[in-house]
């Protein structure tokens, strides 16, 4: 496998792995916990390193995951005092833990390969150089870690789909039925931490946040089923990863930054063009409703004045707009649309309701 292909594969696998727990974070309105966790895991790594003096020790991984979960507990502890809100608690806890890690690195470990730049941005381009042999295959370490994380996330979500769904939608019912939502919550946070640590080495903490929050947020606008939201998140994440790689290759810029940018672009596209909830679809729907409402007003007006002495004035096609206090251009357009839609027809200078128009007016008058 060429290094280029390996980098793309790593990017896709990590994006997919991040999207899965990300869906539940977004639905639980805990997206910013991914920010906290992806930063504080660094402290776990640093502390693990001080204990073992070995950057390859699995203890670093364990320490990082534990620190991620501890972050969530600390945030809960601080916000449960009732003195600060949860978002503020996140903002208090994680920079504190992260900065301790930064201080420790710069004071005691500046000679070791643990630099803060790569923590934030990762070094995906270098990932193919760090290799290991697995089942006789010579693979980049980041790919193996990424695949392991993806597999873990897939298996857990498939096994506990029902529990995750219930605890996310209605924690009280989950508790009443005996499904221990706190256990589900901490299980999910453990998975988020594992994913953050697994992804963090290759892509850095900023991209972890982008990949956990962006694709699920976009998928949320595209579907109204949880299972489809999961699948779409994985697809959007993977597509952004690939697009980001090629964008970076084209401009010769950092891959992680370019991937995060593509996640943003993907979200923007969905936000604009989503078939039902997108900005454009919403605006078009509003416009349609506005015309429809105007046609109803016109129909009701004609219904109310048909056959009355003042009908000649009220229902004349060139005066009706004036009576309704509409601008002439708008009135003419409403009349044109109503005529086209078979709601009214012209009888000499007058507008008269058709059967459909009368039905619409009567229906509107019932509201």
């Amino acid at each position: 496998m060429s290094p280029q292909l390996e980098v793309q594969l790593i990017a896709v696998v990590i994006a997919a792995a991040c999207a899965i727990p990300g869906v539940f974070l977004v639905l639980r309105r805990m997206a910013m916990l991914s920010d906290a966790i992806s930063h504080t895991v660094l402290l776990g790594i640093v502390l693990g390193y001080f204990l073992t003096r070995d950057l390859a020790s699995p203890l670093l991984f364990v320490g990082a995951v534990a620190m991620g979960v501890a972050t969530v507990s600390l945030v809960e502890l601080v916000s449960r005092t009732g003195l600060v809100k949860e978002d503020a608690a996140i903002g208090l806890v994680f920079p504190a833990l992260f900065s301790v890690a930064v201080i420790l690195i710069s004071r005691f470990a500046s000679n070791v390969h643990l630099d803060t730049d790569s923590v934030l941005l990762g070094e995906l381009a270098l990932a193919p150089f760090d290799r290991l042999i697995l089942l006789g295959l010579d693979l980049p370490r980041a790919l193996v870690v990424g695949l392991g994380t993806l597999l873990l996330n897939l298996v857990l979500v498939l096994l506990f789909y029902k529990e995750l769904k219930l605890a996310t939608f209605d924690a009280a019912l989950a508790a009443a039925l005996g499904f221990a939502p706190a256990l589900v919550h901490y299980g999910l946070m453990t998975v988020v931490s594992i994913t953050a640590v697994g992804a963090f080495d290759a892509v850095g903490s900023i991209l972890v946040i982008a990949l956990m929050v962006g694709p699920p947020a976009a998928a949320y606008l595209l579907t109204d089923r949880l299972s489809r939201m999961l699948a779409l998140s994985v697809l959007i994440g993977a597509a952004s990863a690939l697009a980001g790689y090629w964008f970076a290759a084209w401009l010769d810029v950092a891959i992680a930054g370019s991937m995060a940018t593509m996640v943003g672009v993907a979200f923007l596209l969905v936000y604009l063009f989503a078939p039902e909830r997108g900005l454009i679809a919403t605006a078009a729907r509003r416009a349609r409703q506005r015309w429809l409402f105007a046609e109803q007003m016109l129909a009701l007006h004609l219904l109310n004045h048909a056959g009355t002495p003042e009908a000649a004035a009220e229902c004349a096609s060139d005066q009706v707009g004036e009576h309704l206090r509409w601008r002439p251009v708008f009135a003419a357009e409403v009349v044109r649309r109503a005529e086209q839609g078979g709601l009214v027809r012209r009888q000499g200078p007058m507008l008269a309701l058709t059967e459909r128009g009368r039905a619409l007016a009567q229906e509107a008058s019932l509201r």
Binding site: L27, L159, F160, Y161, K162, E163, K165, L166, T168, F169, D170, A172, L173, A175, A176, L177, G178, F179, Y220, T223, D224, R225, L226, R228, M229
Partner: protein
């Protein structure tokens, strides 16, 4: 045996008691309202019974045993506003959640659960909405979906937190009819209720609470002006009724007989 026995129950948030030494029992097969002013602890009473909040003292027993051993006998309708109705799921899916308790961990809902959920949706006249996204429902429809979800739990005792909140008169009638069906088939139903006027018409037992339990028993015995005054303090207005008749029973099973009363807008 009583469906529900609550003894010496105290629930506090920090050191502020929300429920103070509550004792009450509900015989099986009754349809009971829990009424009291805002902040009286009605929702907390249900939550403590279902183990959702930890009591500071006392215990609740469902058919003589702690809730944790009797989960399968209990159906729960939380307040409609307690969940996110924009959650990406369908009506049928939400109703199937009522079966999760019997399925237990790991087992997935299948054909049987679907069939039961559809049947329950039929009962609340929401079968046509089965595949709808839940965010497209009106308030009354959401309430009926929650009710269907409790029905598929196939419980012996149901706890419902304000099932009439934000529903129109037609839906309210439909829900009441459903509750009375449940009672007729021997189930016990405990409902947090807000509209005092309909208590004698809808329910046969009532519990009046305001942090303390004021009274609990058959509507005809305990739904009295004196008890209501004790529950609501000065915040209740009795209309078209002279004061000081002591323990006169209010309402006789039909609305608008004799006394009319309403909870005034209270300012807590």
């Amino acid at each position: 045996m009583n469906a529900l026995d609550i003894t010496d129950l105290t629930v506090a948030y920090r050191d502020k008691p929300v429920l103070w030494d509550i004792d009450m029992s509900v015989p099986a097969g009754t349809l009971m309202a829990i009424v009291g002013p805002n902040g009286a602890g009605k929702t907390t009473l249900i939550k403590a019974t279902l183990g959702l909040v930890r009591p500071a003292a006392g215990q609740t027993l469902i058919f003589g045993r702690p809730y944790a051993e009797q989960r399968r006998l209990v159906g729960y309708v939380p307040q409609r506003g307690s969940v996110d109705w924009d959650f990406p799921t369908s009506v049928l899916d939400v109703v199937m959640m009522g079966r999760y308790g019997s399925l237990g961990w790991l087992r997935r809902p299948g054909q049987r659960e679907r069939a039961l959920a559809l049947e329950a949706l039929e009962k609340v006249r929401m079968a046509d909405f089965a595949s709808r996204q839940i965010s497209q429902l009106s308030g009354g429809q959401q309430q009926r979906v929650f009710l269907a979800r409790a029905l598929v739990q196939d419980a012996q005792i149901y706890f419902m937190d304000e099932p009439f909140q934000g529903v129109d008169a037609v839906t309210e009638r439909a829900i009441v009819a459903l509750l009375q069906d449940l009672r007729a088939s021997g189930k016990t139903v405990v409902v947090v209720h807000h509209d005092l006027q309909t208590v004698p018409e809808y329910f046969d037992w009532v519990t009046l609470i305001n942090v303390r339990r004021i009274a609990s028993g058959p509507v005809a015995e305990v739904f009295t002006e004196a008890n209501l005054r004790a529950t609501y303090g000065g915040r209740i207005a009795f209309l078209g009724h002279s004061e000081g008749t002591g323990d006169r029973v209010l309402g006789t099973g039909k609305r608008g007989l004799g006394t009319e009363y309403a909870e005034t807008a209270n300012a807590d």
